[in-house]
Amino acid sequence: MIEGIGVTKVFRHGRSDVVAVDDVHLNVIPGEFVLIYGRSGSGKSTLLGMLGGLINPTSGVIRVNGLDIGNLSDAMISEVRAKEIGFVFQFSGHIPTVTVLENVMLPMLFYRDGPGSLSRAVELIRRVGLSDRADAYPCTLSSGEMKRVAIARALINSPPILIADEPTGDLDIDTEYEIMQLFQQLNSEGMTFVMVTHNLDLVPFGTRTYRMDRGKMMEIPRPLPGVTMTKEPNTHLDHDAGTAMNEL
């Protein structure tokens, strides 16, 4: 589904080069929930951007459903993004000038023959629990509500893959739990997830987990001992598990 071979990204920073992602190999198969854990600045978001065709790798190959997205024209890579991949960003990525409903319908502008429709947008908004906020503008929404809108928008064209960059980074524990429950439900319905987080608590949601550090990525063997996720604050991560993760 998504394959990365020797993916490397080097940024020019002043006179020096910064290796953000260093020779990463990854193979995501359909129905997986791949979770990439790492500290801020470890390169996980850059990797995610490359997997979604939003950042060009310095070297290496990325294939989405067999297509080498590095060799695609702008129109073709845009089509891949519109059809194959749903994005949920860390920040509240919304167009401020249009309503919640219209934000959810935005990807339909780029994939006209897709499954997106007004009724589907309404249904998705209902599913993320925002039926009464459909006509609201993004600036009036809470962080959690914005995230739900982003999820509904990511799903409008029924993409097989959902890429999420720290989707719960700025949310309270209850909302975080609800969103992860929703992701899990979608994953159980067959959607493939690639998600990055710096929150160890979310590790149990992944069917495969990687850790990134200074651009390098390594797989964490499963199951991690004692890692559970509950709604109770400060009780959702076993101390040993955290230690084990940090030791990897």
């Binding site: 951007g49 702008d74 459909a134």
Partner: protein, 403 residues
Amino acid sequence: MSKTHEFRFFRLVARNLAHRPYRNIATVFIIAIIAGTLFASQYLMSGAEQSLDAGISRMGADILVVPERYAAAGQSVILTGTPTSFFFEDSVFEKVTRVQGVAKASPQIYIATLFASCCAAPVQMIAIDPESDFTISAWLKRNPGVVPGVDDIIIGNSVIQNVGRDLIFYGHTFHVVGILEKTGMGVDNAVFTRFEDASVMANESGTKAVRKVTIPEGMISAVLVKVLPGASPAEVALEIQRQVPGTKTILPDGLLNAVSGQLSAVTRLLSGSTIAVTVVSIPLLGIISAMVADERRREVSLLRALGATRLFVVRLILAESFSLAIIGSFIGIGTAAAILVAFQDYIAYTLKIPFILPSPLALLAAGGGALLLSIGIVGLSSLYPVVLITSSEPYMALRGGEL
């Protein structure tokens, strides 16, 4: 839940425009000034040229022969109706008719009047010979075909009186029998009577008027000439000047040049204003666009991440810019048109040019030209923002450069 049916490209454009009202109003204002100035310039030029064309074609004469020293005054009579009096011997008329290439000729006498009850300013009285005249009857708007009889008068379109009513000049009462079509030229402010009646009026003026008017015996002011089909008016005019000493001929081209000369100062001013506004506005609009573009980098990157192509983004930015250009142009052109129409007589009087409302086609051309130029300017000022936005990597712009 919203009753919105569809979410289309132009709805996004409209929403984006509505979201930045103050900046967009400033942009619209700048564009309105550019478009309005350009339109005004074209409108005045077009109105003057059409007025001249209409006036000359309705005049029906190819050449106007006047005393050698009074060419400018003769032009003023035709163009703006500035009242004047000048004379040469009536033998000129006979000589002109004998020049090769002359088909028809008709003498006229110009008499500058005082203020009359009809008019806010002195009008030009023109005495004609109804038997040889080939011009006036063709212009008649009211009572066409009428031939002026004793004490009858035909009035220009701007002279305020109706057919059947009387007008008094130099104490002599004239009866209005016809009104001419509007030409925008001097004839609009002129009144036409017969030689005989003008002579009687002049003779009576010593006792009936506050100022005596004199029409010298055996003198005329001008001869209107129609050339034979196929003959060149310019060549016939030269021949008249050669064969009839002391005369000067005025051709339509000469009138056009005179108007162009009078207009050139105005058009220079208007063109200069347009260029100055354009030169200032391109970088100004560019700066505004660049500021908006910088603000919108994340928004555009989001669209790209959701599947928008670069072309879509370019279309979006240009559609927004062109929408502002179109709105601004319509406001500018509409305002300029309203001002010009409302004050066109005053403007023409001040600029000393003949003027009528340009034809719809000319208005369309002037408006279209102003619109296209405004769109071009806006398109030019949008180039940098378009390049800026589309050249950045979407995800890095989304994350503000964070790795």
